[in-house]
Symmetry: C2
Subunit: 691 residues, 2 copies
Amino acid sequence: MSSTPNASVDPMVLREVLDGRWAHVRRDAREHLHDPDFLPVYGESMDEARERVTRAAKKLADSGRVVLGFPKEYGGQDDSGGSVTSIEMVAFKDLSIMVKTGVQWGLFGGALQLLGTRRHHETYLRDVMSFELPGCFAMTETGHGSDVQQLRTTCTYDPQTQTFDLHTPHEAARKDYIGNAAKDGRMAVVFAQLITQGKNHGVHAWLVPIRDEDGTPCPGVTIGDDGPKAGLAGVDNGRLSFDHVTVPRDMLLDRYGQVAEDGTYTSSIENETRRFFTMLGTLVRGRVSVGGSAGSATKLALDIAVRYGDVRRQFAAPGEDREIVINDYLVHQRKLLPALATTYALHFAQGELVSTMHDVQTAVHVHGQEIDEQAQRELESRAAGLKVAQTAHATATIQMCREACGGAGYLQENRLPHLKADTDVFTTFEGDNTVLLQLVAKGLLTGYRDNFGSLEGWGKVGFVADMVRETVLERTAARALIARLVDAVPGVDDVPMLERGWQLKMLEFREKHSLEGAIRRLRKNSTMESHPTHPMTPFDMFNDVQDHVLRSAQTHIDRVVLEAFVEGVDRTTDPAARQLLDSVCDLYALSTIEADKAWFLEHGQLTPARAKTLTATVNQLLKELRPHLITLVDGFAIPDGWKAAAILVEEPERQEAMAARDAELRAQNAEGGREGGPGATATDLDVPPGQ
Amino acid sequence: MSSTPNASVDPMVLREVLDGRWAHVRRDAREHLHDPDFLPVYGESMDEARERVTRAAKKLADSGRVVLGFPKEYGGQDDSGGSVTSIEMVAFKDLSIMVKTGVQWGLFGGALQLLGTRRHHETYLRDVMSFELPGCFAMTETGHGSDVQQLRTTCTYDPQTQTFDLHTPHEAARKDYIGNAAKDGRMAVVFAQLITQGKNHGVHAWLVPIRDEDGTPCPGVTIGDDGPKAGLAGVDNGRLSFDHVTVPRDMLLDRYGQVAEDGTYTSSIENETRRFFTMLGTLVRGRVSVGGSAGSATKLALDIAVRYGDVRRQFAAPGEDREIVINDYLVHQRKLLPALATTYALHFAQGELVSTMHDVQTAVHVHGQEIDEQAQRELESRAAGLKVAQTAHATATIQMCREACGGAGYLQENRLPHLKADTDVFTTFEGDNTVLLQLVAKGLLTGYRDNFGSLEGWGKVGFVADMVRETVLERTAARALIARLVDAVPGVDDVPMLERGWQLKMLEFREKHSLEGAIRRLRKNSTMESHPTHPMTPFDMFNDVQDHVLRSAQTHIDRVVLEAFVEGVDRTTDPAARQLLDSVCDLYALSTIEADKAWFLEHGQLTPARAKTLTATVNQLLKELRPHLITLVDGFAIPDGWKAAAILVEEPERQEAMAARDAELRAQNAEGGREGGPGATATDLDVPPGQ
């Protein structure tokens, strides 16, 4: 679609395009987030890191920057999108602070706000916002992280005392990995099975004091420390166990389920599973924040690797005085540029997601509208899918950037080790990526039908029978635009690969075909249950196709992300910036297709000849985009003071000093007629011996 | 080739097969390496780690376990293969100790031994071996790691004083990332440009004191600390700068180049580049050790993830009392088993490499034979290629294992964070993987012709003209066996995929075709230099094809590794073990082909239908191998006391306690007729709402 981007592009224009709807939140952060406590400190101990991060959290609270998502009447701004954008900006700083922030105001505060009712808000919300009341979000147990519905902690109501009895029956039921637990937390939102009148009503949440003002654990509460982790040294993750802890009746966060004095249970949502997922659904913000924060860490890693690669030199070409800048190597470009293109694509997709989330949550929580279940579930699926894409991309890209910076990338002073170690758990927390892909897949397979109940696992693939025959590809925000582009492409053969419609069509075809194939195979397996010679258990029916099903989810995410990028390009008005983004979008689309070339070949969407053309086209795009590498990271607009990478300052200086010295030596050598000497380029050495 | 492995396999038999030629070294380590100082300590500070690792190094020296590679006359055993096997075993412990060991006895001691002459050995070798004289291998500079020939440190001879003047001309020339430098090192083998009588003779090495007995830096020596790194906290990496430091003439390690009192330079190897690479070539042991150590870390990570996955349960199948063991999920098997198969394959390839290295080095350094240049260069290429394969596999696999263990994998107490962070630099040190792939490729392109000179870089692709028309696929040790297997397969179509000959043929075809294609493209580009409208610079000629060239190297490595595995299976006499290894070898071969399916489709080696069969066959192998998962990690024979992973002890206990409690509750519920309750399986919940 693009012609070669050759005009010089103003990075400020790119920045504006990327800043999007919450540009004011981003600008504000860039201007004000400069406290040294917000930067990682290299070599500090876990205790020092925790102290600093606690200080930073308090400073963030004082700045009012973290409470945008809370109701106006308590001092917030009812700005859900602003709150996750704010976290995304904090994620450019020490990621422990981002996680601490996410725990206090996203998870703990969010649960209090969205699962609690007015009496909880009145009593606690201001202290939560000010960090006077640090708290925990105690959901995950050692034995159950992914399958939260199966938590083993119980909270049993006793009408005699009008209190609940909160209890951890065995070690696998202890709350684990809980942020704010090991050091700061004074209260926790604890998730447990609600039992009253002899019946289990499923998982609910209670607000439970865990430490008194002196920091002493409350009676019956045992607090453990998860100790040192791979990263996130400043987050005090810990373990909570409850030995028949008494919890007053009114500490149940009872927006979606209430227990009367006599123990009668009521809820506006009758089905237990649906109720559970409605409760969880309100907490989607956490997942969106993790995706966005992974994006920030990825941008910073790329910023460092791209700038370093632009001054770092290694190996000389003959006849050249200086060695070659490593960004000029094709294989280095192959590492950096597709990753950069994907980062742009995910940025646009994230922007779209945040916007949707904001609108859905504002309708319900600010304007008091009924939950639009279809919209809510689409949002959850998008959030899950994008969290997977962002965090998997972060893990791969930060690793690549570390390697692209060689030994320098291994030193803490150059930031990449922290970025890698801190983000490593992002693929796990707020939903394990494999489990989330499964969630996305189930949503697709059932065409967003009312099917919350199938989430419980793998067996009993009863929903197979209910599957819609033709899975509808619901399109992203850019519906009309995408349809127009796709329709403009008549077939799939011989269409130029830079034609956007062809790219879109390829990803659309793959998604549809993958899904339909998965449905076909599931259907076939479901007829095998009572097969005389090859019976299949319900588990095997699903498990047999699991890889295919997860692939379908992945293809869906790729398509959604491309559409968001296309829409982002379309919104860009500056011609030079638009042309550049157009090429970056081409690179994202084509490198995504290239990464799955085998599938397109297998399914007749690429001929062998066209598959080779595809690789050549990607390489051509790399050449065209090479001159724009710095502009593209400039577009992220990360303030220099936030980067905390020594090489960004020192390497350019070193290269200049070396070049000056080499030039001096060359002059001396030329004068004295001497051979070789340091700074001699490899031309002196390149005669193969024996010739 | 295999039938389904169904006999139960004795892990001890597998262990014996894997232990190979240096089984006695492995057994000795398993029996004796149990000092607590050898295990990682979670949460210790950098200073504490350094102290402990220095202690451990001294203990290792005292045990005599690290000096196998030194000459018998100085107390060693002239056992080069034993020395790297010993390091491979140390690598199951804290990897900082492995690196410290590698620095002291592999790099520093090895350089002294192999580049120095008798006077150096007599004076220093015993103290090096006993760790009385801790030393550094000061090659890499901040500005030059990959292109060592371009080091900027100079060492200039002055016949007046009969000393050298060692000098760091600017910051980019300081020695960097040097192990033992920041704390322990008393001397260093320093690499610098040797200048005498106004002429530069290229890089040579000197033995230079850097600290006196009190630890004070010697005059003119500035010592810096690289500070905290991503991992390897116990290794004191540092920086060395020399301000006109006087070095006595006899401190030149002068085996390959000598400077007479009057400054006359002599060498048995006239060509400077060849001399340089001959010197480097003697140091191949370091690269072999890194590959082997990466293998150890990978085995340990897989051991942890596989055992955890075998007890960890998540999500229930309907009608089942307990949740499903995560190793039963297809997608989990897709993660663990191909990685495990590749680990086996690399183990056999490593064994072959160590054996070859031992024989080549023993011939020269023990029996005093002339260097067989062909054998030496094949060894270097193999060592480079396998170092790439092992370390890239370690990076990917340890990451996967971390994720496969979820949140538990993120806690230091479960070892995986250390394995990940410590091995992360393995893809960089002892040769950046991309640069090493390039080295392998050049060896292939020139058919091992005498072409050292082309290493200097990318331009002037003069060697293109010299390239052999038909690149000969030299076969690995198993020549006859492989030839027989390949010849047994008539064509490529319709041959069963478990036919070993077909698998070998596929990888052979891909290597040959990739190489020939790369040569063709290079030739074509080399005619473009003086093209009137599309001239290409020498750099562009090569760079244009760089991705293709590196791919060729990768295909070569894959083929070599498969052949080594095939040979390993062939050596196995126990029928059950052989059948199992046969299936693991199938999985390695087929998952390697599957990972590059697009290439085989593009080049007519797979039809779309066969490509789908390939995926189905891999999935079938996963099912067959699932019951053997534990046996396969048992085969690694890692002593329990070395693992230092809390989950391996605690998770089975937790799962049993939970199961017992759940059973109790089920009994109570059945008795009392109550619904639900914790421990209720998801069948209670799986009715979709609204049905």
